[in-house]
């Protein structure tokens, strides 16, 4: 169990801690993997430069699960973070201890949102392309985003405002005119609860959903239940796309130019194979193999191409709902706690639990977690989502 992979002593009140997925030239970046243990970058991630330029202090790096695509950080080569008997993330522990005003996270596969929901935190996953990914460890590039987590919606808003905006160095960064749209998003007045996305959530999670619904209603927001049979398929499609992208992205780690190198090998093939086999964890290996298989000649059209088409179907399904509603309320996880026993029973639990987070990941839509629930909005509505979260915070006090 390791919370910080690197920590700075500071008295500043403007401390932000970054997940160990952000490159830093003054601290190592391992991305939770033995493969990158001790790796030193030559430059800082763009978001960290922007925070520094605005007077914020990087207080340290928070440990993450291997390449941050697991359930809740359990696959870190430093070990899982356990608090009061339940699995959690290093970032969440740092925020709960009051050691930072906010954390920067990589939302690759929803672990950030799950941790926020389970720890009573606020987390915002912005619209894809509005925050630079330059200098982040790439995993599932078509859907992953930098996200911000804090104990309050106000702090999330402050940090998101400081890091958002076009970046020439990131080929997926949206133009300035698009990024500016977040400032003029209309307030959220009508919210839909997607009943098909509450499937599998336990009573505690559904109670959180009811509390948020009550807070919304008390603040004049109209809440209706609707159904949609397509959006729940996002999980399967995202598992395919994420695995394929991950497979390609981690193919760069071979023990030659940087990273872990095995001690024993007799030729170049053994150097590659032994280095990767010894350094990578089991969840990562299985996902690499699955991603590779989806891209094979036999499966490309049947599996990968199909998932790309389903992505469009899901985007269109959301667009249809957003003709009548401003946002969609759903759980972020099935339970308010995971334990080591859950992972021991099924180490691939994340491939099922991302049922709740995959819709926003595969579509690039913004999502805010607050009060233990998740709300997905139209593109560029992140500040409106945070405004609503703030209103509900007051309601809960």
């Amino acid at each position: 169990m390791k919370i910080y992979t690197s920590k700075v002593d500071t008295d500043s009140a403007r401390v932000v801690v970054a997940d160990d997925m952000f490159l830093t030239k003054d601290m190592p970046t391992a991305a939770g993997s033995k493969m990158l243990d001790g790796y030193m970058s030559l430059f800082d991630a763009e978001v960290l430069t922007r925070l520094s330029d605005k007077g914020y202090v990087l207080g340290g790096k928070a440990d993450v699960g291997e390449f941050a695509f697991d359930l809740i950080g359990e696959t870190s080569y430093n070990g899982a973070v356990i608090s009061d008997g339940k699995l959690t993330t290093a970032s969440a522990e740092i925020l709960k201890a009051g050691e930072a005003m906010a954390t920067l996270n990589m939302d690759v596969n929803g672990s950030t949102r799950r941790a926020a929901a389970q720890n009573g935190l606020v987390s915002i996953k912005p619209t894809y392309g509005t925050v630079s990914r330059y200098g982040t460890v790439p995993v599932a590039c078509s859907g992953e985003t930098v996200s911000v987590t804090s104990t309050t919606a106000d702090s999330c808003r402050e940090i998101l405002d400081a890091i958002a905006g076009h970046d020439d160095k990131d080929g997926t960064s949206l133009p300035t005119a698009s990024c500016e749209k977040v400032k003029s998003a209309p307030a959220i007045r009508r919210v839909a609860i997607l009943t098909s996305m509450t499937k599998g959530a336990d009573a505690d999670v559904l109670a959180k959903l009811d509390s948020v619904k009550a807070a919304l209603t008390a603040n004049g927001v109209e809440v209706c239940e609707i159904d949609n049979e397509v959006i729940p398929t996002a999980r399967v499609a995202w598992n395919i796309l994420m695995s394929a992208e991950l497979c390609n992205n981690v193919s760069r780690y071979d023990g030659v130019k940087y990273g872990y190198r095995a001690q024993s090998f007799s030729n170049i093939d053994e150097l590659y194979t032994n280095s990767r086999t010894e350094a990578f964890g089991e969840l990562l290996k299985s996902t690499i193999l699955f991603g590779s298989e989806t891209l094979s000649t036999d499966n490309y059209m049947k599996v990968y191409d199909k998932a790309l088409r389903i992505r469009r179907v899901i985007v269109e399904a959301f667009a249809k709902i957003f003709e009548s509603f401003d946002a969609i309320l759903m759980p972020a996880c099935s339970a308010l706690a995971y334990t080591e026993a859950d992972i021991k029973e099924n180490k691939y639990l994340v491939f099922e639990e991302n049922f709740y987070t995959a819709p926003a990941s595969i579509t690039g839509l913004p999502a805010v977690v607050f009060g233990g629930a998740q709300m997905v909005g139209r593109s560029f509505s992140e500040m409106a989502l945070l405004d609503l979260a703030k209103t509900c915070e007051k309601e809960g006090k």
């Binding site: 398929t233 030659v256 170049i268 194979t273 290996k285």
Partner: protein
Amino acid sequence: MERDTLRRLEMLNQLSLTDAQKEDVIAFFAARDAELKTLEAIDTSDTERMVHVMPIMTVVRDDVIIKTFSREALQQGAPETDEGYWCVPRVVE
């Protein structure tokens, strides 16, 4: 999944699994395969693929010299170097 297929995937991805891990991965693949039925049930014959959710344009930068890193700096994290070269086992006999 056939064991030969798994062996091919291991080779392609430069990984080597134990027998127990192979059994585990075969079960993992079976679970993923079973899920595919939910996608197959949706007709996408008239739907175009969506690679990026946002319009992505080719990045064109000004043709100006920017800061680059020295060879020494780029090799500082290398497992083994020699006189500016990355070292690997002999590949040509």
